[in-house]
Amino acid sequence: MLSSYIKSIGQYFIMIFDMFKRMTKLSEMRRLIMQEIDDLIVNSMGIVIFISFFIGAVITIQTALNLSNPFIPKSLIGYAARQSIILEFAPTFISVIMAGKVGSFITSSIGTMRVTEQIDALEVMGINSLNYLVLPKVIALMVYPFVIAISMFIGIIGAYLAATYGGYLSGEQFLEGLQDEFVPFHVAYAFIKSFIFAFLLATIPSFHGYYMKGGALEVGQASTTSFVWTSVVIIFSNYFITQLLLS
């Protein structure tokens, strides 16, 4: 059991190393990257905006309902919403959601190519299939912090609307809290996390798809396993990054 995990971890790092060998023609690589940006980033924007808006709103309502002490200023609700959204919700929660959405898509598409011998076809032609299939995904997901920035913005909009239209506090109070003790490094921290999560989001599902064996059923199983492992590694690395950058 343990040896198979160690073997898989070794295989994962070998995959990352091999991904940079025998580079694909530049014009084709450019086309693949644009295609992946469309598939992985643009097609995920809808769900990211939807979730961000409502989670932002719920964070505000929950905070407001739990702050019953009259000595605590109402503006703290805006402050708490900002901190929750920027520090954890946007970079981490959205990344776990993306592990389900983008991760499953990557594993199933590469897994299906493995089952239907399309990866063998690339190899027979002399193409490095890892470079052709995985590297464009890694590069495309480097714009992932942009998704997180949008998630932060929409989350705060949701929080503001829930606060003001829900009658929990005034718009001025919310904005005051939003600007209170703002630490710009927290945004940088969120983007650093997002870059690391983006790399994990591209490579772990690719690993599970690329090295899968079997047929259609195994493609489904690989997608599930890839979601579980991507989420676990994101949560685990979130702890270390936070300890490293904020403590």
Partner: protein
């Protein structure tokens, strides 16, 4: 020409290939036949370099993989075409894009030159009005033709086919067989076909190798396979009632 010398391959305790030696000649359709589990696919993958043999060598025009530099291996692969059992067409690409793919990746042809070459090859495999269709929108027989077109578009010197007519009706299977043979003769390609199909054996078997238990049990061609006294190959080839009757008729000179 491809020469295979004493090829061995094991997976764990299972010996799949046990010292196969043979030659595949240029301009001929060379068939590998045998029961399921006899090592045909592993043998073909060793020829393609997708699996490294444990022992033995495969020579392409006198040179083995080990003699080549990384760049030479890459160039050798550009000279290979492969028709996979399921076609292995790229789902996200149209028929035209699938066939253009090797040209885009490995040549410096202009767009118009590529278009002309693809039109020429699609015409050669009798595919019309399918350029903009996706693999899921065409029949199995058409997919095989697209796969053949993609395999030959870059004018390969070696063509490998893994059960090219499996899952096809007998008429389409014969068309595909004849197409592969014609292309082999026209372009003087060394073609190696992995098949279960006895029609293919009698139709295009210019050289036939019968594998059993990872070993070469018989070697010959379609003209002598009728007369063979080798019981193993006779049991395999004439396992159906129809072929048994054909054999009896052949022997009685009917």
């Amino acid at each position: 020409m491809i020469k295979v010398e004493n090829l061995h391959k094991s997976f764990g305790d299972l010996d799949v290939l046990k010292g196969i030696s043979t030659e595949f000649e240029k301009g001929k359709t060379n068939l590998i036949i045998g029961q399921s589990g006899s090592g045909k696919t592993v043998f073909l993958k060793c020829l393609l370099g997708l699996i490294n043999p444990d022992k033995g060598d495969v020579y392409f025009n006198g040179k083995t993989y080990n003699d080549f530099t990384v760049e030479q291996r890459r160039n050798l692969r550009k000279q290979m075409g492969m028709v996979f059992q399921g076609g292995a067409l790229f789902d996200s690409m149209t028929v035209e894009q699938n066939v253009t793919f090797p040209l885009k990746m490995f040549t410096k042809m202009s767009r118009s030159e590529m278009k002309n070459r693809v039109a020429e090859v699609l015409d050669r495999v009798n595919l019309v009005d399918t350029n903009d269709k996706f693999p899921s929108e065409i029949s199995g027989g058409m997919q095989k033709r697209v796969s053949i077109a993609r395999a030959i578009v870059n004018k390969p010197k070696f063509l490998f086919c893994d059960e090219p007519n499996s899952g096809l009706d007998p008429r389409t299977a014969t068309v595909i067989d004849n197409l592969i043979q014609e292309i082999t003769h026209e372009n003087q390609i060394t073609t190696v076909i992995n098949t279960h199909d006895m029609n293919s054996v009698f139709e295009i078997g210019e050289k036939i190798i019968y594998l059993e238990g990872g070993k070469k049990a018989w070697e010959g061609d379609k003209d002598i396979i009728y007369k063979t006294d080798n019981e193993k190959i006779a049991d395999f080839v004439y396992s159906s009632n129809l072929f048994q009757k054909v054999r009896v008729a052949q022997r009685e000179g009917l």
